[in-house]
Symmetry: C2
């Protein structure tokens, strides 16, 4: 069934200190609308899901597969399955993360 | 292989009059960064891909499965496989569309 979702009405989850997210799940996808506070860090990790991080606002330093870049609005980062990645928020950030398959751990 | 993509460096496609998009494709997903000019219309159509439309800016009137809503920033619209949908841009809009599986027609 289709859904019109007002993200403000979805529960907000603190997935890590400084990372607050609202998630949309379908059978096959998870989409995270993530706000990151300046200075917050995502330690290196990996997961079976491929991930595409779309930076909407702010400056996010990302390290993926050993390569580090500063990512601003208009940057999309493709992270294949099981690829180590980490991040540091150089400012407050808003990103839209797409995961495939869905992330059961975020349900 | 991972990729850091500067969307400004990707080719822009006019998918319909008033709809210009830059696409990211993986084996399983297509993500469209779509700019829509005020007054532009997306005629009713459907496709095998499920679609989640994330409105980043602007006001987009969407009709999905016979239900019409005005969608602003912070709205996400879940459109299951083969569900008819159409749209009218009430202002200039920027949306991030996620398609699964990937859209060969946009490659």
């Amino acid at each position: 069934m289709h859904e019109f979702l007002n993200l403000d009405g979805l529960p907000e989850k603190e997935i890590l200190p400084g990372f607050t997210a609202r998630f949309i799940h379908t059978d096959t996808l998870t989409i995270g609308h993530v706000r990151i506070a300046r200075g917050s860090t995502l330690p290196e990790h990996s997961h079976i899901q491929e991930q595409i991080t779309n930076v909407v606002s702010g400056e996010l330093q990302m390290t993926v597969g050993g390569e580090t870049q500063t990512c601003g609005p208009g940057t999309a980062v493709v992270i294949p399955s099981n690829t180590p990645h980490s991040a540091l928020a150089l400012s407050d950030c808003y990103v839209i993360d797409v995961f495939q398959p869905a992330r059961a751990d975020y349900k």
